[in-house]
Amino acid sequence: MLKTVPGKTDTQAVSKQVQARQKWMTAALMVAPFLIIYLLFLIYPTLRVIQLSFTNADLNGSGRFTGLSNYIKLLHEPTFWNALLNTLYFILLTVIPNTLVGLGLALLILRLRRLKNFVLAAFFLPYVLPVSVVTSVWNWVLDSNFGLFNFLTGSTVTWFQDPVWAMPAVAFVTIWWTVGFNILLFIAGLQSISPDIYEAAALDGASGARLFWSITWPNLWPVTSLILLLQLIAQFKIFDQIYLLTTGGPFDKTLVLLLYSYREGFQQQHGGYASTIGVVLMLIILVVSAIQSKLLNRGNAA
């Protein structure tokens, strides 16, 4: 290491420059491996999907510039609106129910003592299963002929092939699979509320529901808001369960945006058109994150 002598300003300046360059080199070496992969496999495809959406590219990426024609076609395509509405319907069936179930279960679990860890593990365990395991287990339980559920309830519904029931059934499976995650976050949120506030309120004579609505709920809002955002974004990208349980059927009743894009891109070789759906999906998610982060910030400020 160079030791600078006080007073000799020029050597000091030079050594500082050398040091700065050395620092920069070390930093560059440490950042480069991640950065290169990040730019190549996340940023570049994101920019490319926008470019492709203005072309009639196939699955090899070769095609001509066609201006806005993909977008115009998309807006006039009933299948697109169907996929968008189905996605929104799926969100309606999952996001708020999953949040409420998560909160309810978190409140139930928090008041337990000895059984707490066991019960929490029971609710969280499905979350670590691969999606294809989740779907095959529920295909079995909800099998119309030999399934346990129909045997116990006397129902004869073919859950995943029924135009009315397919989407609610997929939503139910999704909640079963992922609610453990919400429970964890809610428990963390509930535990971070200071017990002093409850004591003060109890001294003022508040109890039960009053405590929940005046203290728990407002103090829990930042976590609730985070959970809503995470789910909203995740459910817009819904693909796996739908593909495995219904493949979009029956009669496209469970066709969602990403599945529509997958069909157009990988099955029909319409790379450009599939990219257009991708861009729309990305825009929706960006807008949702922006709106939600505003809400989240307000929750923090309050």
């Binding site: 139930l108 337990l112 593990a121 609710f123 395991v133 287990v137």
Partner: protein, 293 residues
Amino acid sequence: MTTVSPTSSVTARPPVPLGVRIARLWGGVLTVLTVLLALAWVFPMYWAVVTSVKPENDTVALPPTIWPQTFDFSSYTYIFQNSPLVRWYLNSVLTSVAITILVLLLSMLCAYALSQIDFRGRSWLFWLILIGFMIPFQASLIPLFIFINQLGLVNNYLGLILPQLAAPIAVVIYKQFFDQIPPELGDAARMDGASEARVLFSIFLPLNWSITVSLAIVTFIAAWNNFLWPFIVMNDTAKLTIPVGITQVQSAYGVAYAKTMATAVSAAFPTVIAYLIFQRRVTEGVMAAAGLK
């Protein structure tokens, strides 16, 4: 009781007030309800395991038997002998381990530089990485596939692994943890002539060991369970990962539910065991990933 207080001298303990008794009863009911709900929640998993060890005929017997009348493990031997399950296992283990190690290493290096080295362009670089949080990779699946195809990496393990390393989340988590360490600690080591790599691996890493372990387990489970990208990029049956592979054989089994459940149980085994052993680590990792810690 040995000490007798003057007020409750002779008679037995005063009766518990009605309100308290109702509250206790209500509490007991809630506890029982919670436990029953938890059992109902895991029941489908139990049902899958039980079905997998029944003879195929018993799985469709009515009424269904809650406990197998005869234990029959032939479904397991069948699926392991008649499908590339072992190969898929190996694929999943090797790629998930590689992804876990690389994700941790790359993000650790990047986050360390962002947090501890004062270099030009640092703040905009961090912004660039934060942007990645907003970007859904699913939206650009087509160009990603085209790109991987152009690189000749379709049906190649590298093509499976590389895009999964591009997630900025671990970088952000590590940066948060490194930011909490006073820079004097690193400066002291640097005065003694330690290189940045050395400062990272012998001072900063040990201080963050617990989050590294948590992140490793959560990353491993996520990589093992990943479905969409392996499903897109691997077409060669022998090269599938286990969550994708089992869907292929299951559709071939049709209503052979003992075999279908045996594949499901086999595919879920590693993550379930990892969770049961490292429960607290998984919780910690999930919290960190959600931005709550």
